[in-house]
Symmetry: C2
Subunit: 633 residues, 2 copies
């Protein structure tokens, strides 16, 4: 079985997004988020750090993370340039890039912290200090900027830095046999290989991935070289950074969630580039462990604040969920890569779960404030902030939103895939044939999708239309001929192979009733609870819509389908235009619970009106309680 990808993603430069859901977000991202993030980089000293004018007597030393924040901003800004030329932004980027270029050392090295704050100590603490991680983000920024503008200004700088890294690290004598405590450079080097054609970068990525977790542990060696006892490692275990055993042997997701996502993304990339079935099998094993046992309903991952990451299977507390925005974004990155191998819809389902819920919850409706942590319940004390000292999340969500169009379609020699339903257009290349797919739909608020095909001539190819995992019934018409047998496909896609004629119309209706979702009973924290979901959107209750009721006292009625209890209503005025769910429930706890351990369950509940809003949109109005998982009784 070949492991290279059967699918090739259609880049977002060939996709137009014209819907009411993503298009406004892309615009807000471009006009509000990207400028606001630049201002924060500027005012916090992250831009000035590249001037190399900091001296030990100055306050605010360049932090080990800073380069990556600027890099992710450059990447996100470059993406917006690709779909929306903007000479001002172009100039701003050139200015920042010029600073970066000037900061590069003669040997190619480039890191504002080590050059200024710890000169002479470069590459002495790969475990903790994010040096290669920052390099990775700079490489991704350089690739994005080159692709957006055709300018090699940043790309050449980063090639020199990558060359320096290549000379520094490896198994050969005289090189350091190290790898980064925070993965990122691995996937970045694969991207750099793609734009430059330089195979050394791919080999270096493979070295970093394969050396990880080998014994003797490099982190032990470098700790001893620093005069430290490796046993005193603050995180206690190299599982924190997925470096406790070689990656091919890993079967459990461990440690810091963002690191894991970046590593697995690189593993999937390398599996594709090198035909490495072992790496792909490891990814599949890890996917099962993560997505079948450790993923929040929102696509959030990593329940624990203590390691910003994973704990035990089925441990999914709601109010104390960590579920870092970056981790959900990373989950999208990884699953997008996995989806391309065989076009298995389970990967698109995970992407959709995260895209419509736990990633975009990370940014406010106005695009100017951010969640680092995305709990599924709140007493009312959790709110977005304009920036963070550790500012990884804001530019990460920005680069994801800027590139959202790139997730919608894939193409192949004789195949066209539609993964997501987003109004607009995709310009695919099916073999030699340009195929335009035009989508008209109000998804995610409505499951009706009208797709029109446009080619220069009739052509035979397979069209693969995704039936989302949440959908239990759908109808399909090709040029008004209904498809007879609308089974739910095991691989998540309906495959239509025929000779297509320009102007052919496919109509898909994904029935979208309100659903109660329950979690596997192994998740003790959600036992006896359900969440409201409609289409891909997970709902929550917020105090502001629910008369300040104690949300955990609310009990929704079981024994009746959710669609009979909750009615959707489109509210164009609310939260940028959303479907809210109106329904009734009971307010339990006529007596609030005191310290008693048991009591007679009184059966009558006080009926209350409930209004649920999309989870992603919470905390954009009056502050108050929020809750996804509701008691059912």
């Amino acid at each position: 079985m070949p492991v290279t990808r059967r699918l090739t993603p259609v880049p977002f430069t060939r996709v137009t997004v014209e819907d009411d859901f993503w298009a406004p977000r892309i615009e807000t991202n471009r006009t509000a988020t990207i400028p606001a993030e630049y201002m924060m980089c500027e005012s916090s000293g992250r831009i000035a750090a590249w001037d190399l004018t900091w001296s030990p007597s100055d306050p605010n030393p360049p932090h080990i993370f800073w380069d990556s924040d600027v890099a992710k901003w450059i990447e996100a800004a470059s993406y917006t340039l690709m779909t929306h030329p903007d000479s001002q932004l172009d100039a701003l980027l050139d200015n920042a890039i010029a600073k970066i270029a000037r900061a590069q050392q003669p040997d190619g090295y480039l890191n504002t912290h080590y050059i200024q704050v710890e000169p002479g100590k470069r590459w002495t603490n790969l475990r903790d200090c994010h040096e290669l991680y920052c390099a990775g983000h700079l490489i991704e920024a350089a690739v994005a900027h080159y692709q957006a503008t055709g300018k090699r200004t940043l790309l050449d700088v980063l090639c020199r830095y990558a060359d320096h890294i290549d000379r520094t690290f490896g198994r050969e004598p005289g090189k350091l046999p190290g790898y980064c405590g925070h993965e990122e450079i691995e996937l970045a080097l694969v991207r750099l290989f793609h734009v430059t054609g330089e195979r050394r970068y791919l080999d270096l990525a493979r070295y970093f991935v394969d050396e990880r977790g080998q014994q003797p542990y490099y982190f032990d060696l470098e700790a001893r070289a620093r005069g430290e006892d490796p046993a005193n490692f603050w995180a206690k275990t190299y599982a924190y950074m997925q470096a406790h055993i070689p990656v091919r042997k890993q079967a459990e997701v461990t440690g810091h969630a963002v690191r894991a996502m970046y590593l697995y993304s690189a593993m999937a990339d390398l599996a594709n580039e090198t035909g490495d079935t072992q790496l792909l099998s490891a990814c599949e094993r890890l996917w099962d462990d993560l997505c079948l046992k450790r993923m929040y309903l929102t696509g959030g991952i990593g329940p624990s604040a203590s390691n910003e990451g994973f704990t035990t299977p089925y441990d999914l507390p709601d109010e104390t969920a960590y579920a870092e925005t970056c981790a959900a974004v990373g989950l999208v990155f990884w699953n997008h890569r996995m989806l391309q191998f065989e076009g298995n819809g389970k990967y698109a389902d995970v992407m959709e779960r995260a895209l419509y819920n736990g990633t975009i919850s990370g940014v406010s409706m106005d695009g100017r404030s951010f969640f680092y942590v995305n709990p599924l319940a709140s007493k009312g004390n959790h709110h977005r902030k304009g920036w963070f000292d550790c500012a990884c999340c804001p530019p990460n969500i920005a680069r994801m939103i800027a590139g959202i169009g790139g997730y919608i379609y894939s193409e192949g020699e004789h195949d066209a895939w539609v993964h997501f339903y987003v109004q607009g257009e995709g310009r695919l290349q099916v073999g030699d044939l340009p195929v335009r797919i035009c989508q008209v739909t109000r998804y995610p608020w409505d499951g009706e999708v009208r797709l029109t095909l446009d080619m220069t001539a009739p052509a035979t190819f397979r069209l693969h239309l995704r039936i989302p995992g949440w959908c239990q019934q759908y109808q399909l018409w090709v040029n008004d001929f209904p498809m007879a047998d609308c089974q739910i496909p095991a691989d998540g896609y309906v495959h239509i192979s025929r000779q297509w004629v320009p102007g052919d119309v496919i109509r898909l209706n994904l029935e979208m009733p309100v659903q109660y979702v329950e979690a596997n009973p192994s998740v003790s924290q959600t036992l006896g609870r359900v969440a409201l979901q409609r289409g891909p959107i997970v709902y929550c209750l917020e105090s502001v819509d629910n008369e300040q009721l104690p949300l955990d006292g609310i009990i929704v009625r079981g024994g009746v389908p959710a669609s009979e209890m909750f009615m959707p209503e489109y509210r164009p005025d609310l939260l940028g235009g959303v479907i809210v769910l109106h329904g009734t429930g009971g307010l339990a706890g006529e007596q609030p619970w005191g310290n008693e351990l048991y009591r007679n369950k009184t059966a009558q509940y006080k009926p209350v009106r409930l209004t649920a809003v999309p989870y992603y949109a919470w905390d954009n109005r009056a502050p108050g309680e929020m809750r996804v998982w509701l008691r059912i009784g």
Copy 2:
């Protein structure tokens, strides 16, 4: 505030039990359990061990627990003699006691294990080896046998042993400043003080209680004396035996549940004997922690098998509940003591919960097999056994049942208390006045109770009638005059102060509808679940009554009172005569869970007929699943 007890329990020798619930159990205990347990003591070598004929070349060395098993059997058998003279049993006891007396060493020491298996090592490992624990049970046996028969044969032996222990342990120079790893001797010494009047025994009990948990830890010292590193203690922490801090400072129940109950019983005894408010406050604090956060609905305590004891607050798993029979019995012992201080019904409620559910589940209907562990759910693989290598539970439940009459009444200078409703008679002494209280009732199957008072002359005293915690409505008549205002009393008792005339009749009707009981939502394991309860009886479903349905797929209907969904029916033929509950529920027509993490909750249930039986009676018929906590939806 005085801390001595306002109430004095009426001993079971002045109580006649003539109902259909306890009387048959007392009889089965006497005729089946006590003989069967003797046979097991005999056949397992526990009786012969007292002959001191074991030698190192023999198999089956006397185990460190064995003396306590025989002692508890002697105690239980003695109790049955008190209410039912039996010359054969009397002779059997004399025979066993003669062996014990002959085994006593010249200095008073008495322990079959150490005398034979580890001579020379006595008192070298108090932490693990139960030496004083065995002594305590022998003392309780001696007191019981003396009270039952008037014979001092065993009592004198144990006084000599207690004197030896008193010479051995204490803070004075030349004595060992130790205490037992398994509490028991403390409460036993208080009993010995009561029958002998010898104050040294009370002082010794107080020493053992107060020395516990003091630093430096005695268990550390003796471990080092044995050449062991105390850090290697197998249970890791002295909290296992409530010896991590002094008992007066303890606010959390910790460790091994049975040990905790015996310690707290001794603390309550000492608080009463010495007027020690600190000890009583500690008991009250520990009671709150235990009974408001850590007690099963059945009165079982100690959820974890790993330490036979306590974990964290609100951790009450059902299928893996340990809930050792001995621990529930110990809970009764402790709460009986606590009840006597002020007559607060909360202690009687806990006793009732354990007495009617989690203690007597420990013995089969025929009295010949036993549960050590009392889970609240079973897949069908948990069954009673005839005996255990560690056989603490069978004789413990036997001594509790033999003495059940002693829990029903208390008396005081001007007061008579009725704690439990059990058909029969109590012969109280209210000050100088003999008062006979005659109960006619079918309790626990029916809440109607008719009490008749009989004295030689009219007399004024307060009669305190308990309104059980489960009762939410009751009616009361004195000589057919209804009491106007039947509020639920805060302290659990209705107090009637008047001049009583011989032949006065009180009629009490405790309304006893079927109830759904829910646990505090902090108990994650029972969230979204209810249990059926009627009166004091907790019900369960067993496969044998429910067409082999998958019991955890059953969903009882919420939003409707339990009394409308479940109908009681008395079945004289079943399980010794029980009220069963007939009702309907839904079988979640769900696909069994596979490895999926989330799914659409299907709302339609297949209606099924359900029959629930008392929890205590489960596993007396065809083996199968059992479940107390049912899903509600």
